[in-house]
């Protein structure tokens, strides 16, 4: 590896991005992508626990068939709060804004993102948006569900709909600006020799995600704005009583929100590709297929939104087309899963914590994706739509998949981000608890849904109680699974072992700088001479 030095004053030991300055201002006004990533991590963790608290209340309510703990009204507000926080303020920004922000310039061999100040501004937009949405819920909440279906949301609901929408709008802009930054950085700031075909698969997936963020988010932004306008000025945009078309809302909403489910899951695929390669010590099987499957997902997922509307009264022909296209979107997802498993098959697998999370991801995502195929078949969907089957389906993908991958990624790059190792055995234990807890929580929900238990009610028929109690029990195990990493990761900041530059023997430019990296990332601009994942040139670290 040769390189172009650009920073003669570089001192490896004394200058990391963390210890260069300790003042509050140096954090709140930073334009360093790594510090902004940390700021995002704090914000995201906060909103995750808010959303989690709501989930706990929901699950406790559902232990008994009677609606006894929460009134129906409060229950509605709880699942809305849960959905809004988890989708818009946790999962959509999670991997891109934390790991993407931290890693993209490092992986590209750049000093920062293309627009560092814009990056800081996105964080502020996100936090202000979150604060506004949180205020709305402290003042009295919203009961529309995260989907804001009209005309309920735009005319009849009594909650703080407009305020919540303003919060989501701002968070949406933050997401657009992050995506824009990533796109430009990937195009223009790759180190010499880092051709597109040498990019880590992480970058490919993040790039596809960014394209979706940039093209999808404005649509939901304007759609929710229209809802707010209808509510404020009593003009009939979506309200049929005033000449509007409520189905149009659903089309516009899902035009964004289906791609949004991939905005949530593609970044986890990004993480998975890196971790699978590292811990099987092997180049990812079928690199080019995995790379282009990300783009294929980005493209096709813009064309399948109608599968959320099979029972809305859209034309049967439209439903059939959407059904076929939904089956097609499963192909690139399956390509990825097969290529990861092929990589595992040929590699020497090391079951460290990140790898455990990733194996969890692969299994749970596959289950979620396969049940997605059930739902894409119109006849089955008509039977299970709006039941717990749907709830189980998307939780397998979004929680079992995306959140596991996020945690796997946090563990994997924790040494790089903080300079400390996480405690390995606690990590493995937590990953295990999480997997058990997750399945116990959500597998019964597939059965519940299939048997006909509808979603979004605080009371249910007696015969569903056993499965619901199982689910609540699972949820408490799951909660432990989330609290464990929260505690031991904080613990490791002080007591963890000091991390070497490349503790796992991973390929990738980010591992060639110190842990944690200096403010400008590298001592000198790296010049890339290898394809990604040249694991045959790296020795397995001995530990």
């Amino acid at each position: 590896m040769t390189s172009i030095p650009y920073n003669p004053a570089f001192d490896e030991r004394s200058h990391t991005y963390l210890n260069i300055d300790y003042g509050v201002r140096s954090w709140l006004l930073t334009t360093d992508h790594k510090r902004i990533a940390i700021l995002y991590m704090l914000g995201i963790t906060f909103f995750f626990f808010i959303g989690g608290a709501a989930a706990v209340l929901i699950r406790i309510e559902l232990m008994t068939p009677a609606g006894d703990l929460l009134s129906d009204d409060t229950y509605n507000k709880m699942f809305t709060l849960h959905g809004v926080m988890m989708v818009f303020f946790f999962l959509i920004p999670s991997i891109p804004a934390v790991l993407g922000n931290f890693l993209i310039p490092l992986m590209l061999g750049a000093r920062d993102l293309a627009f560092p100040r814009l990056n800081l501004m996105s964080w502020y937009l996100y936090m202000i948006g979150g604060a506004i949405a949180l205020t709305a819920l402290i003042l009295g909440g919203v009961d529309t569900g995260w989907t804001f279906y009209t005309p309920y949301s735009s005319v009849y609901s009594n909650g703080y709909v407009v305020m919540t929408i303003v919060g989501i709008f701002l968070a949406g802009f933050s997401s657009i600006l992050t995506g824009l930054n990533f796109i430009v950085t990937t195009h223009k700031m790759r180190a010499p020799g880092l051709y597109w075909t040498r990019l880590p698969l992480f970058i490919w997936s993040m790039y596809a995600t960014s394209v979706m963020q940039v093209l999808g988010t404005p649509v939901v932004a304007i759609t929710l704005t229209l809802v707010a306008i209808e509510r404020l000025f009593h003009v009939g945009i979506f309200n049929p009583a005033w000449g509007g078309d409520p189905i149009l809302f659903q089309h516009l909403f899902w035009f964004y929100s289906h791609p949004a489910v991939y905005i949530m899951v593609l970044p986890s695929m990004a993480v998975v590709s890196e971790i699978v390669a590292c811990f099987s010590h092997q180049r990812v099987y079928g690199y080019i297929f995995v790379a282009f499957s990300s783009l294929a997902i980005a493209l096709i997922s813009f064309l399948v939104w109608g599968h959320h509307m099979f029972v809305s009264g859209q034309s049967t022909y439209a439903s059939m087309i959407f059904s076929i296209l939904s089956f097609m979107v499963a192909i690139p997802s399956a390509v990825k899963v097969f290529n990861w498993t092929a990589t595992l098959y040929r590699g020497s697998v090391d079951l460290k914590t990140p790898m455990l999370y990733v194996l969890g991801f692969i299994g749970l995502f596959t289950l979620g994706g396969l049940t997605g195929l059930f739902l894409a078949s119109i006849a089955v969907d008509v039977h299970v739509t709006d039941t717990y089957f749907i709830v189980a389906h998307f939780h397998y993908i979004m929680v079992g998949g995306a959140v596991s991958a996020y945690l796997g990624g946090i563990h994997f790059w924790w040494p790089k981000m903080t300079g400390k190792m996480y405690p390995e055995w606690w990590g493995r234990f937590a990953a295990f608890v999480l997997f058990i807890g997750f399945n116990l929580t959500f597998f019964p929900q597939f059965i519940l849904g299939y048997l006909g238990m509808p979603r979004r009610y605080h009371a249910y028929a007696e015969e569903f109680q056993v499965l619901n109690v199982m689910s609540t029990a699972g949820a408490s195990i799951l909660a432990v699974g989330y609290l464990l990493p929260f505690c031991y990761l904080i613990w490791s900041l002080k007591y963890g072992k000091t991390a070497p530059a490349n503790p796992f023997g991973a390929a990738g430019l980010e591992w060639q700088t110190t842990s944690p990296p200096p403010t400008l990332n590298f001592e000198s601009t790296p010049i890339v001479e290898d394809e990604a994942y040249a694991y045959d040139k790296i020795e397995v670290p001995y530990d």
């Binding site: 260069i20 006004l29 223009k188 093209l215 988010t217 649509v219 009939g236 945009i237 516009l252």
Partner: protein, 240 residues
């Protein structure tokens, strides 16, 4: 860089920000950034126009009637002319700014301090045209307000609506008219802000010194906003 201890390197007085290798890279990044932003904007307006088109299809007669009765096509036409002129002055401004510039990237050449010819006046004319547009738009809004055709609680239910046309559909048209033109006008105002900033910097010679391509990039934005109007004008004013 906020931190005082940022390594002192050749970047201190360079013609590009610290994250870039040279000015060419910075220019390309900035241009691509603006194009990406405009892609977002296309989808933003695209969703609105889709909704509008669908209702225009549902309630064609009402929309045609409302467009005839309540919009003044000649004011819209004048405004179209005004914006087209402003696009011309922007194009000339970009030309002026570029022709003063060195070819970007020749960092060895000493920075020439001074102002590109005509740049400041062209920017000022552009802003003036933008203001004229907003004034005419404001006048239209004012007339609508006087005639009570602004949708809202006090919306005036037109009395002479021909049979077969529902007043609520007229109101729907006016709603879209206000949303579309309102968002467009907001973009114009942002554009004026950008151009004030450009004018100030052009006046101080900043662009010549740093070889920035800011004029070009803000120009892209301005052209885009004009283009949106080119779609809005026929869609709203000229329904037949």
């Amino acid at each position: 860089m906020t931190s005082a201890s940022a390594p002192a390197t050749e970047h201190e007085h360079a013609d590009h920000a610290h994250q870039f290798d040279d000015a060419i890279q910075q220019h390309e990044a900035a241009t691509l950034g603006m194009w990406t932003f405009l892609a977002t904007e296309v989808l933003f307006f695209g969703a609105l126009l889709t909704a509008y088109t669908i209702y225009r299809h549902y309630y064609f007669d009402a929309f045609r009637y409302a467009s005839h009765e309540y919009l003044r096509w000649y004011l819209g036409a004048i405004n179209t002319g005004v914006l087209l002129c402003s696009s011309l002055t922007v194009a000339l401004a970009v030309h002026a700014a570029q022709h003063h510039d060195h070819a970007p990237g020749q960092s060895a050449a000493p920075p020439r301090i001074g102002q590109p010819k005509h740049l400041v006046p062209l920017l000022l004319v552009t802003m003036l045209l933008g203001l004229v547009f907003l004034c005419i738009k404001g006048t239209e809004y004012y007339i609508d307000y006087r005639e009570n055709v602004v949708p809202g609680p006090s919306f005036f239910h037109p009395e002479h609506v021909p049979p077969g046309i529902d007043a609520s559909h007229i109101r729907l048209f006016m709603t879209f008219y206000f949303i579309l033109t309102g968002i467009h006008a907001t973009h114009m105002i942002v554009g004026l802000g950008l151009f004030s900033w450009l004018t100030w910097n052009a006046h101080r010679g900043t662009f010549a010194r740093t070889r920035s391509n800011a004029v070009e990039i803000c120009g892209l934005y301005w052209h885009f906003v004009d283009l949106v109007w080119i779609f809005l004008f026929p869609l709203l004013y000229l329904i037949r």
